[in-house]
């Protein structure tokens, strides 16, 4: 039986030098690498911005009117640095259930 091919682009259709449009990694959702996710307790959050500044992947968005920061789970890899740095222990790393 012939093995199904997992390729996304044909050999002849690849761009020369494999160059591409800038910012193409936006389409590469890395969130499924995560085994634990950050869950914020908004009651404890003091809107200090530590999670925003410490996140190595820059996944936190400033939710200014509501005064908290929200992790974009499409890209958060679950490293837990935000939870570790949060001075109010407002972020809990919670196991991802499949």
């Amino acid at each position: 039986m012939k093995k199904p091919i997992d390729a996304l682009v044909k050999v002849g259709d690849l761009p020369l030098g494999l160059c591409g449009a800038p910012g193409s990694t936006v389409a590469f959702k890395t969130g499924d690498w995560r085994s634990v996710r950050p869950v914020l307790d908004k009651e404890k959050c003091i809107y200090c911005g530590f999670c925003y500044y410490y996140c190595p992947d820059g996944v936190y968005q400033d939710m200014a009117p509501e005064k908290y920061y929200k992790a974009d789970l499409d890209y958060c890899k679950g490293c837990g640095i935000c939870a570790h740095e949060c001075p109010k222990k407002a972020i809990t790393m919670t196991l991802e259930e499949v």
Binding site: D6, V11, L16, C19, G20
Partner: protein, 388 residues
Amino acid sequence: MAKRIGIEVSLAVAEAVKLADTDVIAAYPITPQTHIVEHLSELVADGSLDAAYIPVESEHSAMSSCLGSSAAGARTFTATSSQGLALMNEMIYIAPVLRTPIVLAIANRALSAPINIWNDHSDIMSVRDAGWICLFAENGQESLDLTLISFRVAEDPKVSLPVSLNLDGFTLSHFIEPIEIPDKETVDKFLPPFVPCFKLDIKAPMSLGLLGGPEYYTESRKATDDALLASKTVIKKAFAEFNDVFGRQYNVVESYQAKDAETIVLAMGSISETAMTAVDELRAQGKKVGIVRLRLWRPLPIEEIVEAVGHAKNLAVIDRHLVLGAPYGPVGLEMMSVFYSASQKPNISNFVLGLGGRDVTRDDFKYIFDRAAAQQGQTRYEIVGVLE
């Protein structure tokens, strides 16, 4: 007007890089390549070559800089040897897939250990699979000519691949030979300005050096191999056009007295000149011997090799690199694979010699011609002149 002068081969290569109007040279000196980049730094410093000379802190940085400058659309050159090429290794594998037409002169030198600065082909063989076009020069004039041809081939839009020009360390790099230095107008007729197929430009941003996961990697490598194999046609065309302009014809595979030869020695690089002298002496004794030399090693010119040596009774393949743990040297292995499925094939044997600068003489070749004709079915390489 072209001038024929006595000049060290390394300096002639540097003069060719100057005549090519190279934009960027990023290099780190290492024996026996040093004179090439040393002379280039002088040419840049005295203003006779308008190029950026980047004196990097290592060969790894040299090739990294070359990747960047070539991707930015600059005609780019570097040179190295042995341990320097080994330190470049990581970046060497990147250049072909990113299709950056860098020209790299390698003054071939043995890899350590033991520490050895002299000539053999172990350095280039360590990166033979990387996807670079590999040319081997036989003498000084050829080293200069192939430098110009390397730029022409690398930058051809149908190719857009890096080229390594291999010249034997010391045997070529440090010898003073009579070499014709062409004039700028003639070089310009042969080598047009570099027009990159794509380039890094802050006005039109793009990404280069992207991730290629399991869904892309296989196809990316295959696309590079396809480009490398297709480059042979362009190389042959460049050789023909070089002849039109300069009157010197090169071929991907060269033959000397091989047409009616019963035993043929196949070699690469400068030792084939010694082999030709041995052939002359053996021919005077009535022996039907000849030489075939590969000028092009990657892509391997299979059809031309079969045409040049397929008729011979015996084929002695020379290797200047010992593949530890394998039955034959790299050239020997490939010749055996070229003929594996052929119905009519020569009796192939593999001889390793000239390692770490050990002298190769006419008598070595006379021994090889006799030995190749006398033995059948060699099962392992033979080192010529090993004391054990």
